[in-house]
Amino acid sequence: MNPILQEVTLGNFLQTNSVVHKIDPRLKLGSVFVYTILICMFRGIYALLLTFVALLAVYKGAKIPLKALWKNLKVIVPIITIAAMVNIFLIPGSVVFEIWFLKVTKEGLIFTLMMFFRASCLVSGTALLTFTTSPGSLVDALEYFARPVRMFGGSPNEIAMAISIAIRFVPTLFTELGKIIAAQKSRVAPFDSPKLRERLRAYLPVIVPLFHITSKRAEDLACAMESRCYAGNNKRTKFRILRFGTLDFVALVLMLVCAVGTFWVDRWRLYS
């Protein structure tokens, strides 16, 4: 195991034996889907704030340290900052204060704040799914939702397998990436050169080997699966059979209450 960049938790499962971990993966996947749509539909800041607080409570319940969440959130900070800087000055409305020719409006401030919470909610919500659901059960859920493709002669298992492999190899690729960066750094690659052009050029020696390793790995994996007689047809039986239990029912009700509740808050207290 190589040390560098191992600290990336994106797409990493954290086993903590909480209630949230035990919920049926189909329910979790389904609710993240609904949740994402809901987050995008919210028009006011209150519902977003409420959702964020509720989400933090679920993190607490899932025993996921907020530090792990912060590592994922950090990734979006630069994007948000750039978008905020543009929005805060460009949205017309009642002016709060002026700096030289730039006008900061109340609408701009609210919009920026909303964008911040919207993005945070999206990232933390989806991260919660991968934190609390092992890649294996996530595939089971995906397979379940992909069942309609059978009607067109497709195989849900093949789709689920492809997606799960992609998810599974994200951390591996990060580890690989870290190793290559370390190796090129040891050869004085100008990663922290003050010149942007040089810094960008320093990444070419990282990308080429990464592609090379990835394609090699894909080939090896295909061979390994082939030699174990993998076939993604619909005759496959399952080892883990998902059952919707009492816990899942309670979770479903709770989530429906939260969804309806926040939506109601949103439409009732628009912008005010």
Binding site: N2, K179, R187, V188, P209, H212
Partner: protein, 281 residues
């Protein structure tokens, strides 16, 4: 001289999968030494050496090179230390072997004559034929790729050369060849060499001093002979002594008057000495 002072390194600190990779390590590498680092997989060997040029920064503690702290966060890579990481052929990216080996020296902003000289020197060092200079490194065999990767660090002429399992996956001729050349280089240029290895025969043959890592801690440290005098302690932590040492321990057990030996060369002289005394009797 490189000194590790109370170096601790923790991965994923504060998360459920937190892992202590180095636990209060105190070490000293003198100039011109050939040091071996042995230990089981996951004992922290790679983490230890990656602190040497500042690739990793310690969670607590510090690393001094000639009295200067190289472990300050934000400080770049210490180029006096050249590290060949595990499976270094994964770093290859250039279109030709020449460009690949020249990558390091080029980044050091050397002039083209000097770069050419250094590439030739490094190629010679690892025993690569000159006629592959313009071929693509991706077309070469695994062993040759490994040599190119090692050459690319050699070409930077570091004062301290660190090799993290440089021979894993090579055939036995290739193994011997590379280590022999590194040993000669060490003797000639008085370069400090740090060798991370699983192969006790290699360690016995080339290394002067051994550092034993176990579960993130330095558990033993000393001259090769001293370390291999304690086979039971080594076995307890999943390591072993060279096979020739085992054979000579057995001879001793059987009542023959032999010294403990750890390399084939020592074994040969000791064996002939034993033969002579037996014949005289």
């Amino acid at each position: 001289m490189i000194v590790y002072e109370n170096v601790t390194h923790i991965y994923n600190r504060g998360l459920p999968n937190q892992q202590i990779a180095l636990d209060d390590v105190n070490l000293r590498f003198e100039d011109g030494e050939f040091v071996g680092i042995i230990g089981r997989t996951g004992s922290g060997k790679s983490t230890l050496v990656q602190h040497m040029n500042g690739l990793l920064k310690p969670t607590t503690g510090r690393i001094l090179m000639d009295g200067k702290d190289v472990s300050i966060k934000g400080l770049g890579i210490n180029f006096n230390v050249g590290i060949v990481l595990q499976n270094p052929e994964d770093q290859i990216f250039e279109q030709t072997v020449f460009k690949e080996i020249a990558f390091g020296p080029q980044n050091m902003k050397l002039d083209s004559g000097e770069i050419k000289r250094r590439v030739a020197m490094a190629m010679d060092f690892v025993g690569l034929p000159k006629d592959i200079l313009e071929t693509s490194p991706f077309d070469l065999s695994g062993g040759q790729k490994r040599r190119i990767a090692i050459a690319s660090v050699i070409a930077m002429q570091p004062r301290v050369l660190v090799l993290d399992e440089p021979t894993s996956g090579l055939d036995s001729a290739g193994k011997k060849n590379i280590l022999q050349r590194i040993y000669e280089h060490h003797k000639k240029e008085k370069t400090t060499v740090v060798l991370v290895s699983h192969n006790m025969e290699e360690v016995a043959q080339y290394v002067e001093r051994v550092v034993v890592l176990e579960k993130a801690k330095v558990t033993m440290e000393g001259k090769v002979d001293e370390i291999f005098e304690k086979p039971n302690e080594l076995r307890k932590i999943g390591l072993d002594i060279p096979r020739i040492s085992v054979a000579f321990l057995k001879l001793k057990e059987l009542g023959y008057d032999v010294k403990n030996v750890h390399t084939l060369k020592q074994a040969k002289t000791e064996f002939f000495r034993l033969k002579k005394t037996l014949q005289e009797r």
